[in-house]
């Protein structure tokens, strides 16, 4: 009777679709900005080699075990004319010992290269004299500090091609996780701890990363970028970042300070004395491609949007003007009734701030 076999066909269809997808993925999936299976560094390559082995072994296990199950269902389905129960087998010790040992062996086959990868990833960086970058996760942006260059920046790092980068990952408020999927596995940023991780970028380009430990309201909007550039360009970038700002920019500093921005942001310095301010360092903000931790392109329009209403762009963003803005005579805006929303700055002030920040390069 065909209806007796219908469930078997159903299971077989599910099995085939999943198996095809499983086989398809490594060959057919497009390259995305945060794909983990198109590695670009020594660190990520090593992960990928272990992953590829485990991926195909588990696929074979899937095909064999589920295939066997399906075959069993097909072969032993009730035909409806059975007179008595089937043979009542209670077990088979040799079979039990056999498949237990087989599983142990299969596990060990995958365990040994896995241990080697642990030693590799958590060992010292493969090249001497790596470029050190201190990473600090914050709600909700990334602060970066290059100790050898004495350079503080935020949300965007520039590194030279072919030189190992050694990150010291930490956090100051809650736990975050530092991850550039194409360049290597993640490392949690835990307050009170500083943890190493390294990779050697080999390909030029701009790559994306993202916080991967839930860290509160705007966890989804805590992104970052890494630019891999030729070694010479890296030196030029450092020189540019270290250079003093355009003296003409000083004209706008007054409004930047008077609006309260100065309480959390630095525009005059980016050395180690200004580490761990409440907000990201803005001394060279105009040289960055994105603002607000990798979520908006760095254009005057977006800067204006971001400054006038940060919580609209990024829920619960901690950028609020100090209360003084809302206390004096001639209170600028109705938004002062709810100090959690908006910066309550007059439009003209915001325009001046944007103009000021545009000169930070």
């Amino acid at each position: 009777m065909s209806d007796k076999r219908a469930p078997i066909f159903g299971f077989t269809a599910v099995f085939l679709i999943l198996a095809i997808l499983w086989i398809w993925y490594p060959f057919g999936t497009p390259l995305l900005f945060q794909s983990t299976i198109f590695p670009l560094t020594d660190n990520a390559e090593r992960t990928q080699s272990v992953y590829a082995m485990v991926y195909w072994i588990t696929l074979v296990i899937f095909l064999v075990v589920e295939g066997l199950l399906l075959y069993t269902l097909f072969r032993f389905r009730a035909r409806g004319d059975e007179k008595a129960p089937p043979a009542q087998t209670h077990g088979h010790t040799a079979l039990e010992v056999g498949w237990t040992l087989a599983t142990v062996v299969l596990v060990l086959v995958m365990y040994v290269p896995s241990c080697a990868a642990i030693r590799y990833h958590q060992g010292p960086p493969p090249t001497p004299n790596p470029l050190v970058i201190d990473v600090t996760g914050r709600q909700w942006f990334w602060e970066f500090y290059y100790p050898d260059q004495d350079l503080t920046t935020a949300n965007e790092i520039v590194v030279p091609q072919g030189r190992t980068v050694l990150f010291h990952v930490s956090a100051t408020d809650v736990i975050h996780s530092f991850w550039f999927p194409r360049l290597g596995g993640k490392r949690d940023a835990v307050p009170g701890r500083t943890q190493p991780m390294w990779f050697t970028p080999t390909e030029l380009g701009d790559f994306h990363g993202q916080c991967t430990e839930y860290c509160g309201s705007s966890h989804a909007l805590m992104k970052m970028d890494i630019k891999v550039v030729p070694a010479a360009d890296f030196d030029a970038w450092v020189a540019q970042q270290k250079a003093p700002s355009d003296p003409a920019a000083m004209a706008g500093f007054g409004v930047f300070a008077a609006s309260g921005c100065i309480a959390c942001h630095m525009t005059m310095q980016n050395d180690k004395t200004v580490l761990h301010m409440n907000g990201p360092n803005l001394m060279k903000v105009a040289t960055r491609g994105k603002i607000a931790a990798g979520i908006l392109d760095n254009t005057p329009e977006n800067l204006k949007l971001w400054i006038s209403n940060p919580q609209h762009v990024k829920p619960d963003a901690k950028m609020n003007v100090p209360a003084m803005q809302c206390t004096g005579p001639g209170t600028p805006d109705a938004c002062c009734r709810d100090v959690q929303i908006g910066n309550c700055l007059p439009d003209a002030t915001v325009d001046q701030l944007v103009a000021y920040l545009e000169m930070m390069k």
Binding site: G10, T47, P85, P86, D173, R187, Q210
Partner: protein, 614 residues
Amino acid sequence: MATATHTLPHAHAAEPTGIWSWITTVDHKRIGILYGVSAFILFMTGGVEALIMRLQLAEPDGTVVSAQTFNALFTMHGTTMIFMAIMPLGAAFFNYMVPLMIGARDVAFPRLNALSYWVFFFGALFINSSFLFGTPPDAGWFAYAPLSNRTGSPTHSVDFWILGLQILGVASMMAGVNFIVTILNMRAPGMTLMRMPVFVWMVLVVQFLVVLAFPIITVGLVFLMFDRLFGTNFYIPEAGADPLLYQHLFWLFGHPEVYILILPAMGIVSEVLPTFSRKPLFGAEFVIFSGIAIGFLGFGVWSHHMFTTGLGPVADISFSFTTMMIAVPTAVKIFNWIATVWGGQLRFDTPMLFALGFVFMFTIGGLSGFMHAVPAIDLQQQDTYFIVAHFHYVLFGGSILGLFGGIYYWYPKFTGRLMDERLGMYHFWGTMIGFNMTFFPMHFLGADGMPRRIYTYHAWEGWSTWNMVATVGAFIIASSQLIFLYNYVTSRVRGKVAGNDPWDAATLEWATSSPPPEWDFDRIPQVTSSRPVFDMKYHGAPKPPPGRDEGIHIPPPSYWPIIVGLGIAMIFGGAMLVPTKGPWVSITGFVIFVGGTFGWVFQPGYGYTPSEHH
């Protein structure tokens, strides 16, 4: 149809009905139903939370809910499904089935059993009431410190979560002790431990896990509560604490918890597969010892949740080894299930479909789990949708499918009627298709670098297609559950009358009537093998003589459990008001608790003899 109005055997005219009879019941079967109904309501609540999340993520830049709401939704979805849906659905089966399967008249402590239900009830009510106050928990279902500290979560949101879990923990601990004592002491004559049904074995293992694991999370949560309410510094990094302590305590509980969720389903599958193959479970003792091994190993693998936190190579190598070793007893179980089906006469009734679905889907969850047992791979997969895919394959494809199998399998025992096969089939295939559509693409999303717990993403990230597929799948799952609900309700009236043993099964619960009388068995059966009912049918084992045992005692109904339960919930729930409003709610709760306990102690508990009425 004549059968529709057929009087069920053992329709006990004397058995009380009405709401009061349910509030005061100490009958393990009724408590089982209370657990099951509550858990299913909460399962649907968690499901709705999931659907809203899937709507938000269906397309890039979704605007269905705000970031804050989304964060509360995934926190409460996880908390609800784990602590208030899957655990109590398991408890429904422990309560209803264990005494029947071991040939007992009730659990060892019937009133304590009622108390654990009511404590669970108030705990679930308490934690979900946070929605009404506008401060639902939003720190994730594992609420890592320091995000869950007072500075990270200043409102009462996390207080609801901590105290709610403490209340639910009290319920689980009491049930754990109760079932360990019941299983060890109340088996029918002749039922040695190795003749015990595998489901009961898995329940026993689960209860030991509960009793050993819940104190750990209790300590972890008490520390967190003290940090939040009374200014201690257990997890405050500024004061020199290491917030990883919280993670260790949480996962030292959290991983055994995973087995608390999956072992009952494994037990159900170990009952269903033999019945519908008409064979005994292949290598039953290996399946049992594998379950025990999983229980033991479960306490030694917690740090695999923490490979990215930087524990160092020695810890990673050790925990990766113990984690991979769990694959061995798990694989042994799967092989034994296949060997059980091998050589049988397979009938594909709904319970069997769900049991096979369990084996099928759980295997996938096991294999993806093996991938991130390798720390190098885990560093890429941790906290991405790959992990979300993995644990839904074990908790939905595993636990939930197994538990549904159990509902279809034992429904005739609960109600005396069978559920509709055709609707059951629709439910199964709808769930199976929807489930794979929702969760298989999440493997790809994770490998494409989509982190979990993000409330939005952008089109340029390239995650849109699979997210849309997943959302469509989620709605297919949800509609299939409505078919189940309809089937469950209507079959109580319209279902085919089942008789005592509709599936031609082997274990003791099928020896009594459907539904069983209040005292479970007219005569406590003598057990001579692991398949007493099969032996009576096919091997000429003696059947119990007609009539009823003399001197059956049934514990009387009691309203003290609900009062004591309310007191316990108020003691805990009131704690969050202590720093601001004073300890008055807790003190009131304590007075109710003490008063209720006095009333309880002085209420005669030795029981009454049911009247002869048939």
